[in-house]
């Protein structure tokens, strides 16, 4: 359990003060993948660096597993940091060391013996899928491979918490996905708590179960990812949701669609975290004498199931029964746009 109370950070330079993080409260449960999203300058990067005191907090308290990080002496903090892994946007590997020596570095710091180090490094290389690259130097690796080394290095001392500072922002979309899959794997396998900073809603959608939205140093909205997706309250949050779901411009086309498809019923289906009703449309078609025509929509997968909207045309004999089935037997929310009858 990570609890943050009244955390703030003020940068002072040339008599001008900049508040990067302001009076921030958060609780993060063990085993969570907690996403913090915000635009550049929202203070999210400063926030994650405050957690292991790479930046010294100006005020507030951080407790990780009942240890008060903020009250620690430099010496205690060094020991505590060995339990907090961190990965970075630009990987921050030592170019003068090979892959295996990079991964061994935190073990050297923790004073692990050479034989134990070699054993652990091999385990980690297998875990992140870099077998055969042990002797390569970072300059010989691709971005995704470098981040895998970063992850292996961060996991070397079996930390309980992993901090990810824009860990996928320098990677292409495909590599981003493979790194995210690896993070979910690690989270499930070791029950590791992951705190992830990003400006991409796609990342939040794909792997997080909780999210906090930051703006001007404050958390303006937080909750379960599905709730935030469904009911974004703040303007920034809506913007971020649009990144993934499109911007609702399609609503304007509905009149056009209604004109073009005048037969049968036009309904809008909202899939909200569906895991059991994903085959709804084929089920309806099998069960009742109806034809279902998908006209428009977008469904996306989150950690809590499918989420999105479809506009469909239902035509045929059993329209009423089919509509009743959706209303009563499925958890998909339905809205009738046009009822031609």
């Amino acid at each position: 359990m990570i609890s943050i109370e009244g955390l703030s950070k003020v940068f002072t330079s040339n008599k001008s003060k900049t508040t990067a993080v302001e009076n921030l409260d958060l609780n993060i449960n063990d085993g969570d993948i907690f996403g913090v999203i915000g635009y550049s300058g929202a203070g999210k990067s400063t926030f994650v660096r405050l957690l292991n005191r790479l930046e010294e907090p100006s005020g507030g308290r951080i407790t990780i597993n009942n240890e008060d990080i903020t009250a620690m002496t430099a010496r205690q903090l060094r020991i505590a940091r060995q339990d907090i892994g961190m990965i970075f946007q630009h990987f921050n590997l030592l170019w003068s060391r090979t892959v295996e020596d990079n991964i061994a570095f935190p073990l050297e710091i923790a004073g692990v013996t050479k034989t134990d180090r070699q054993k652990r490094v091999q385990e980690l290389i297998d875990l992140v899928g870099l077998s055969g690259k042990e002797k390569a130097y970072p300059s010989q690796l691709s971005g995704g491979q470098k981040q895998r080394v970063g992850i292996a290095r961060a996991l070397a001392n079996n930390p309980k918490v992993l901090l990810c500072d824009e860990a996928t922002s320098a990677l292409d979309p495909e590599t981003t996905n493979s790194i995210l899959d690896l993070l979910v794997d690690i989270n499930k396998q070791f029950g590791l708590t992951i705190i992830l900073i990003t400006h991409e809603m796609h990342v939040i959608r794909k792997i997080c179960n909780h999210v906090a939205v930051m703006e001007s140093g404050k958390v303006v909205e937080q909750g379960e990812v599905m709730d935030v997706f469904l009911h974004p309250r703040q303007h920034v949050t809506k913007k971020f949701v649009e990144q993934v779901m499109g911007n609702g411009e399609e609503d304007e086309d509905i009149a056009g669609i209604a004109e073009a498809y005048s037969e049968g019923n036009l309904v809008r289906l909202h899939f909200v975290g569906e895991t059991t009703n994903q085959a709804l449309i084929s089920k309806l078609a099998k069960k009742y004498d109806v034809d279902i025509n998908i006209l428009q929509g977008k469904i996306t997968q989150t950690q809590a199931g499918a989420y999105g909207t479809l506009i469909v045309q239902i035509a045929g004999k059993d329209i009423e029964e089919a509509v009743r089935y959706i209303k009563e037997k499925s958890s998909v929310e339905m809205e009738v746009i046009q009822d031609v009858k």
Partner: protein
């Protein structure tokens, strides 16, 4: 004219030049790295950020770099006499050589350290590394190619300094060219010494470049 040259003397002079340069180089390397580290670590974003200490070290480095080498040798006569017990011979040249070139190399070390990716230092901190670990396992290895190129440049300057030190009695090729060549109007000998010095410089440059390339895995 060249027939008069005693080859044993020439070999001894070459050996003395090598000896002075190498020993001074080792001293310069160690002292320069210490100075460079202090400059880097006490600077504005350094781990041991300390404005007054940085100012003092910086001032000392700048003063010693400003003193012309030949004058530095004179200034250091009492110190050399106290330390070595004489002011003549190759060993007597060492304190002046090291004190003359270490501040210069210290600045090169500082520049090299600044080139080290701040993110890597930060990553080491995030892993719980002590300052000592950061210095010996991050800063120095990551800046090693720059440190080697720097010491190569310094080595070449040092060969020049040994010739100057030679002119006031330290021995070596500079001294040989001056006393046995210039003073006796034997310009062939002066020329021969010059060629030997140039060869020595080339050797240092070649070795330095080779090591720097081999170490650079970027």
């Amino acid at each position: 004219m060249l027939n008069d040259i005693k080859f044993e003397d020439l070999i001894e002079a070459t050996y003395d030049t090598f000896y002075m340069t190498l020993i001074a180089l080792i001293g310069t390397f160690i002292l320069g790295i210490i100075l460079g580290l202090l400059l880097y670590l006490t600077s504005k974003d350094g781990i041991w950020k300390n404005k007054s200490l940085h100012f003092v070290i910086s001032a000392v480095v700048n003063i010693f770099r400003a003193i012309p080498f030949i004058i530095l040798i004179f200034l250091l006569f009492p110190f050399t006499d106290f330390l070595i017990g004489t002011i003549r011979g190759p060993n007597a040249a060492l304190p002046a050589l090291i004190i003359g070139s270490a501040p210069f190399y210290g600045r090169l070390v500082e520049i090299g350290l600044r080139e080290v990716d701040k993110g890597v230092v930060e990553a080491a901190k995030a892993m719980g590394a002590k300052t000592r670990t950061i210095i010996f396992k991050v800063l120095l290895p990551e800046s090693m190619p720059a440190l080697i190129s720097g010491i190569t440049v310094t080595a070449i300057a040092l060969v020049g300094y040994t010739a100057m030190a030679g002119a006031i009695g330290a021995g070596g090729l500079g001294s040989y060219a001056y006393y046995s060549g210039f003073m006796r109007r034997d310009f062939d000998l002066v020329f021969l010494c010059t060629v030997l010095i140039v060869i020595i410089v080339f050797i240092f440059q070649f070795i330095g470049d080779m090591i720097a390339t081999k170490l650079d895995k970027r």
